[in-house]
Symmetry: D2
Subunit: 305 residues, 4 copies
Amino acid sequence: MSLTGVIPPVCTPLTPEYEVDAASLVRLVDHLLAGGVDALFVLGSSSEVAYLTDAQRRVVLDTVVGHVAGQVPVLAGVIDMTTPRVLEHVRSAVAAGASGLVATAPFYTRTHPEEIRTHFRTIAARGGLPLYAYDLPVSVHTKLPAELLLELAAEGALAGVKDSSGDDGALRRVILGRQRGQGTPFSVLTGSEVTVDSALWMGADGVVPGLGNVDPHGYVQLYRSAERGDWEAARAEQERLVRLFEIVRVGGARMGGSSAGLGAFKAALHLRGVIDCPLTALPQIPLDDDETGRVGKLLAAAGLL
Amino acid sequence: MSLTGVIPPVCTPLTPEYEVDAASLVRLVDHLLAGGVDALFVLGSSSEVAYLTDAQRRVVLDTVVGHVAGQVPVLAGVIDMTTPRVLEHVRSAVAAGASGLVATAPFYTRTHPEEIRTHFRTIAARGGLPLYAYDLPVSVHTKLPAELLLELAAEGALAGVKDSSGDDGALRRVILGRQRGQGTPFSVLTGSEVTVDSALWMGADGVVPGLGNVDPHGYVQLYRSAERGDWEAARAEQERLVRLFEIVRVGGARMGGSSAGLGAFKAALHLRGVIDCPLTALPQIPLDDDETGRVGKLLAAAGLL
Amino acid sequence: MSLTGVIPPVCTPLTPEYEVDAASLVRLVDHLLAGGVDALFVLGSSSEVAYLTDAQRRVVLDTVVGHVAGQVPVLAGVIDMTTPRVLEHVRSAVAAGASGLVATAPFYTRTHPEEIRTHFRTIAARGGLPLYAYDLPVSVHTKLPAELLLELAAEGALAGVKDSSGDDGALRRVILGRQRGQGTPFSVLTGSEVTVDSALWMGADGVVPGLGNVDPHGYVQLYRSAERGDWEAARAEQERLVRLFEIVRVGGARMGGSSAGLGAFKAALHLRGVIDCPLTALPQIPLDDDETGRVGKLLAAAGLL
Amino acid sequence: MSLTGVIPPVCTPLTPEYEVDAASLVRLVDHLLAGGVDALFVLGSSSEVAYLTDAQRRVVLDTVVGHVAGQVPVLAGVIDMTTPRVLEHVRSAVAAGASGLVATAPFYTRTHPEEIRTHFRTIAARGGLPLYAYDLPVSVHTKLPAELLLELAAEGALAGVKDSSGDDGALRRVILGRQRGQGTPFSVLTGSEVTVDSALWMGADGVVPGLGNVDPHGYVQLYRSAERGDWEAARAEQERLVRLFEIVRVGGARMGGSSAGLGAFKAALHLRGVIDCPLTALPQIPLDDDETGRVGKLLAAAGLL
């Protein structure tokens, strides 16, 4: 069965002591389920996976898989530098009962397409769960080639791709290149919050929107509209979400892009009453009061406050 | 006391089952100590730290710190994406009895100089051991600015830098910018195998050469010659080592740079009889017989076989 | 009046002696006009502008502007490293009777948004013709920020943008950010051959497709379908063109991307009988017979041979 | 005869109307010759070649070649995007009586080592003058591979390289890789102002320092000291020049690197009374009074005011 629909990459609320706030996390999951999402993706970039210790990652996995209790699939990110370290996370994800795995190409090391192929094949073989490739050049500094994705799809090593490259031309090559109806299905999911209607129009199967933490209902509306062929409604909803997405720019040049983006999502979740504390993990720079105020105004303009 | 001299980043020999080969690792440490090195650096890039699981990292630490037993300082790499994950490795390194810590800037996340500052300050404060910044843009995709290094040196957060950026102009700015004789010393160590004589000439304190695994004696000769002012001898030795360093190019374009470099170091250590098995961790591509033969010829030409 | 529709960046046929083949160029222009295009863009990247001498650029301008004789607007690329050199090309374009100008940000130099602002303002003030910003990070190594484009649009310095960045999220920010109905219109034109239907769906005004040299009729069909709201037809046509676009990959890794892309366009135009000689300028590598044969097969599959 | 010694890349003084100030240029040439330089390099990056029109480039060439009148060799930059455009500049340089040519790899286009090889071979064959490769990845976005340089050196296509890559490890590979005493000599010239002593120590033949405009005497002292084996004196002089080089950082983040560097050189030349006007070409941002004051303080600290 192919993965489709809205699959938000769940944020990880923290306590003021920088520990996982399980109560807030459960509320966030309920908020997402109430929004009608089709699956959840924990331990992705939006979860601050790069900042969570292995123990914290396990708390997230156990909390979410336990609370969801099979209502929707829960994908688990297994983000680390190379195959052996990724396999450790695979073990935890399988033990926690995840429904699927999401892995990037190797990073930190100087890699090669042949090595990326071995990497995904090994994870697929050892994991025993559907494996999704995570294409995130801004973090991994490699763009997954369409040919490699299609080859790994054809042999059944990959069940899909989460494309956060922002390169919708390459996305389309993958969509048109896969052979539908032959063997395993291959899900193409866009991670780009602002071109979801057009990605679905091209044939993508779903979306993994960080902004979906803040407005799951909006993305579900967008997806359902597209599904029933009401593209005008999908576009109108997408354009509202494009304007809302400006929250990630509020932090501006005084901090890194991760601080600005994740800080904005958490500020919005806090302002909406979903989580107790908007803190992001170290060494990220927090939004200040003025910036939080501007997030609030954008929320209000989008009808969310 | 400032760190000086030759501090090789110790390779991690593996068994055919991809586990740490502790017996070979001990032999490698003895080979390095016999070569006269001044300290050891475990869990750096040359150790395949990016490929080692946390458990394997602990085996390396315990094996080396235990075997060295205080004869020379042992620095420990604490390589991970962000502060909280790095702090986990710090804990292990401190527990194992490491003499100092080596950390990069955050990677995978989109970071900012202010965040890098917080990152190093936090690690220094929590670690309680001398902290060395590891400047490795090819892996981390950030170049540590000279100003930031000097500021962190002045406040005592950093005890030194291992500069593997290949940018010797920037290295010189740091060397000339540090204020000698005021407060904590700040060690400038080059990680560039092929410009050691010139880095020492500029005032660097030492070298962390991956190639020093293969020929520790050569780098020690180079350093001692420079120390006693015999720069002609230092250059002659350096030029021999530049020719030997061609082993890292034998793997060529059919594999990633990490596979080619680390594979060559291990092939050479195997050919020299120091380690039992030249295997590198997954998903690296191994050198084939022809490539190993060419490594052997370069070893022979350098007088090492 | 805002620029809309299909505006192919006209290739520059060469003689076997590497001179502009004016007769073939006239035939190519007729082929494009017969295809129903709305305007022409000469001296863009697809014209090999980077390879043409100033004298050759003038031949292209004079030939095309003269032959078109006002049937459609003719935009002229004024591609050079910095403002003073661009202004020389502006002079030629104005003298030749071009309808508008297309300029990139400065390149080769290490530039800054403030400098890019001055650059476009100066060209607009001196040129006296509508000025379009050309966003081509793969060549210019700078991405034009949406804010800067919108600011220059609001003040009337820019009449539009040709976006060849492949970043359709950023494209959408510009589309939604411009203030329609206030002052000068601002045309958003995509340069991405494979996402034209979706760019139009988002609100783009037109397309500047290199592949439109080969199949102008296809892009005109696509555009007209979208214009009358038949998005299914637009998508079907786009998908045919996505498959045809594979011709740019035939040259593969044995040559640069410019050689492969421009060589494929010219091979196709030669196979279709539009131009006399498929030669590309030095130092580009020509397609060999096998590669040309594969271009032919893709043309046939697209119904063009 | 191989090119050696100090070869400053001559700045191009401008009038307040942005035209070449030939009188100031002549004074600058005299200032350099009085400093004892071995050759001159006009129309390099430090000359603002990227900003000069072709007519201005010719004024520079004619002024300098005419004034120097054979006292020292005058190399001419032939900087443009591709072979045919470079060949136009070659024609002008040859006509003006230049002693040698300096060319980069193709830029703006997406190129390939095979194309770079054809590019240099064609320029060498057509130019009939010694050709020097200009390795400037910060502008050209390609690093010239050592193997390619050595191959072109061996076949006589290249007479040398000006290495402004800052990668002194790669520089050393070229130095050690060339075959001395066989056929044409191959000059290795560093363009890095702050590692001249060490480059000479490695075997480089000379230096092309932008900062040499400001302090030609200093670089000549450095070179002569190294030449006679007084490396301590060379280093002391180099360290003084490293401190002086801080002038290029005065402009900081409010402008591009070219504005900051070239603006500082010109401000210093103006403060030293060599040129009439410190203006840089558009769209560069000028240094303000405060910044100019800081340049003056650094000049004074270096004993130049």
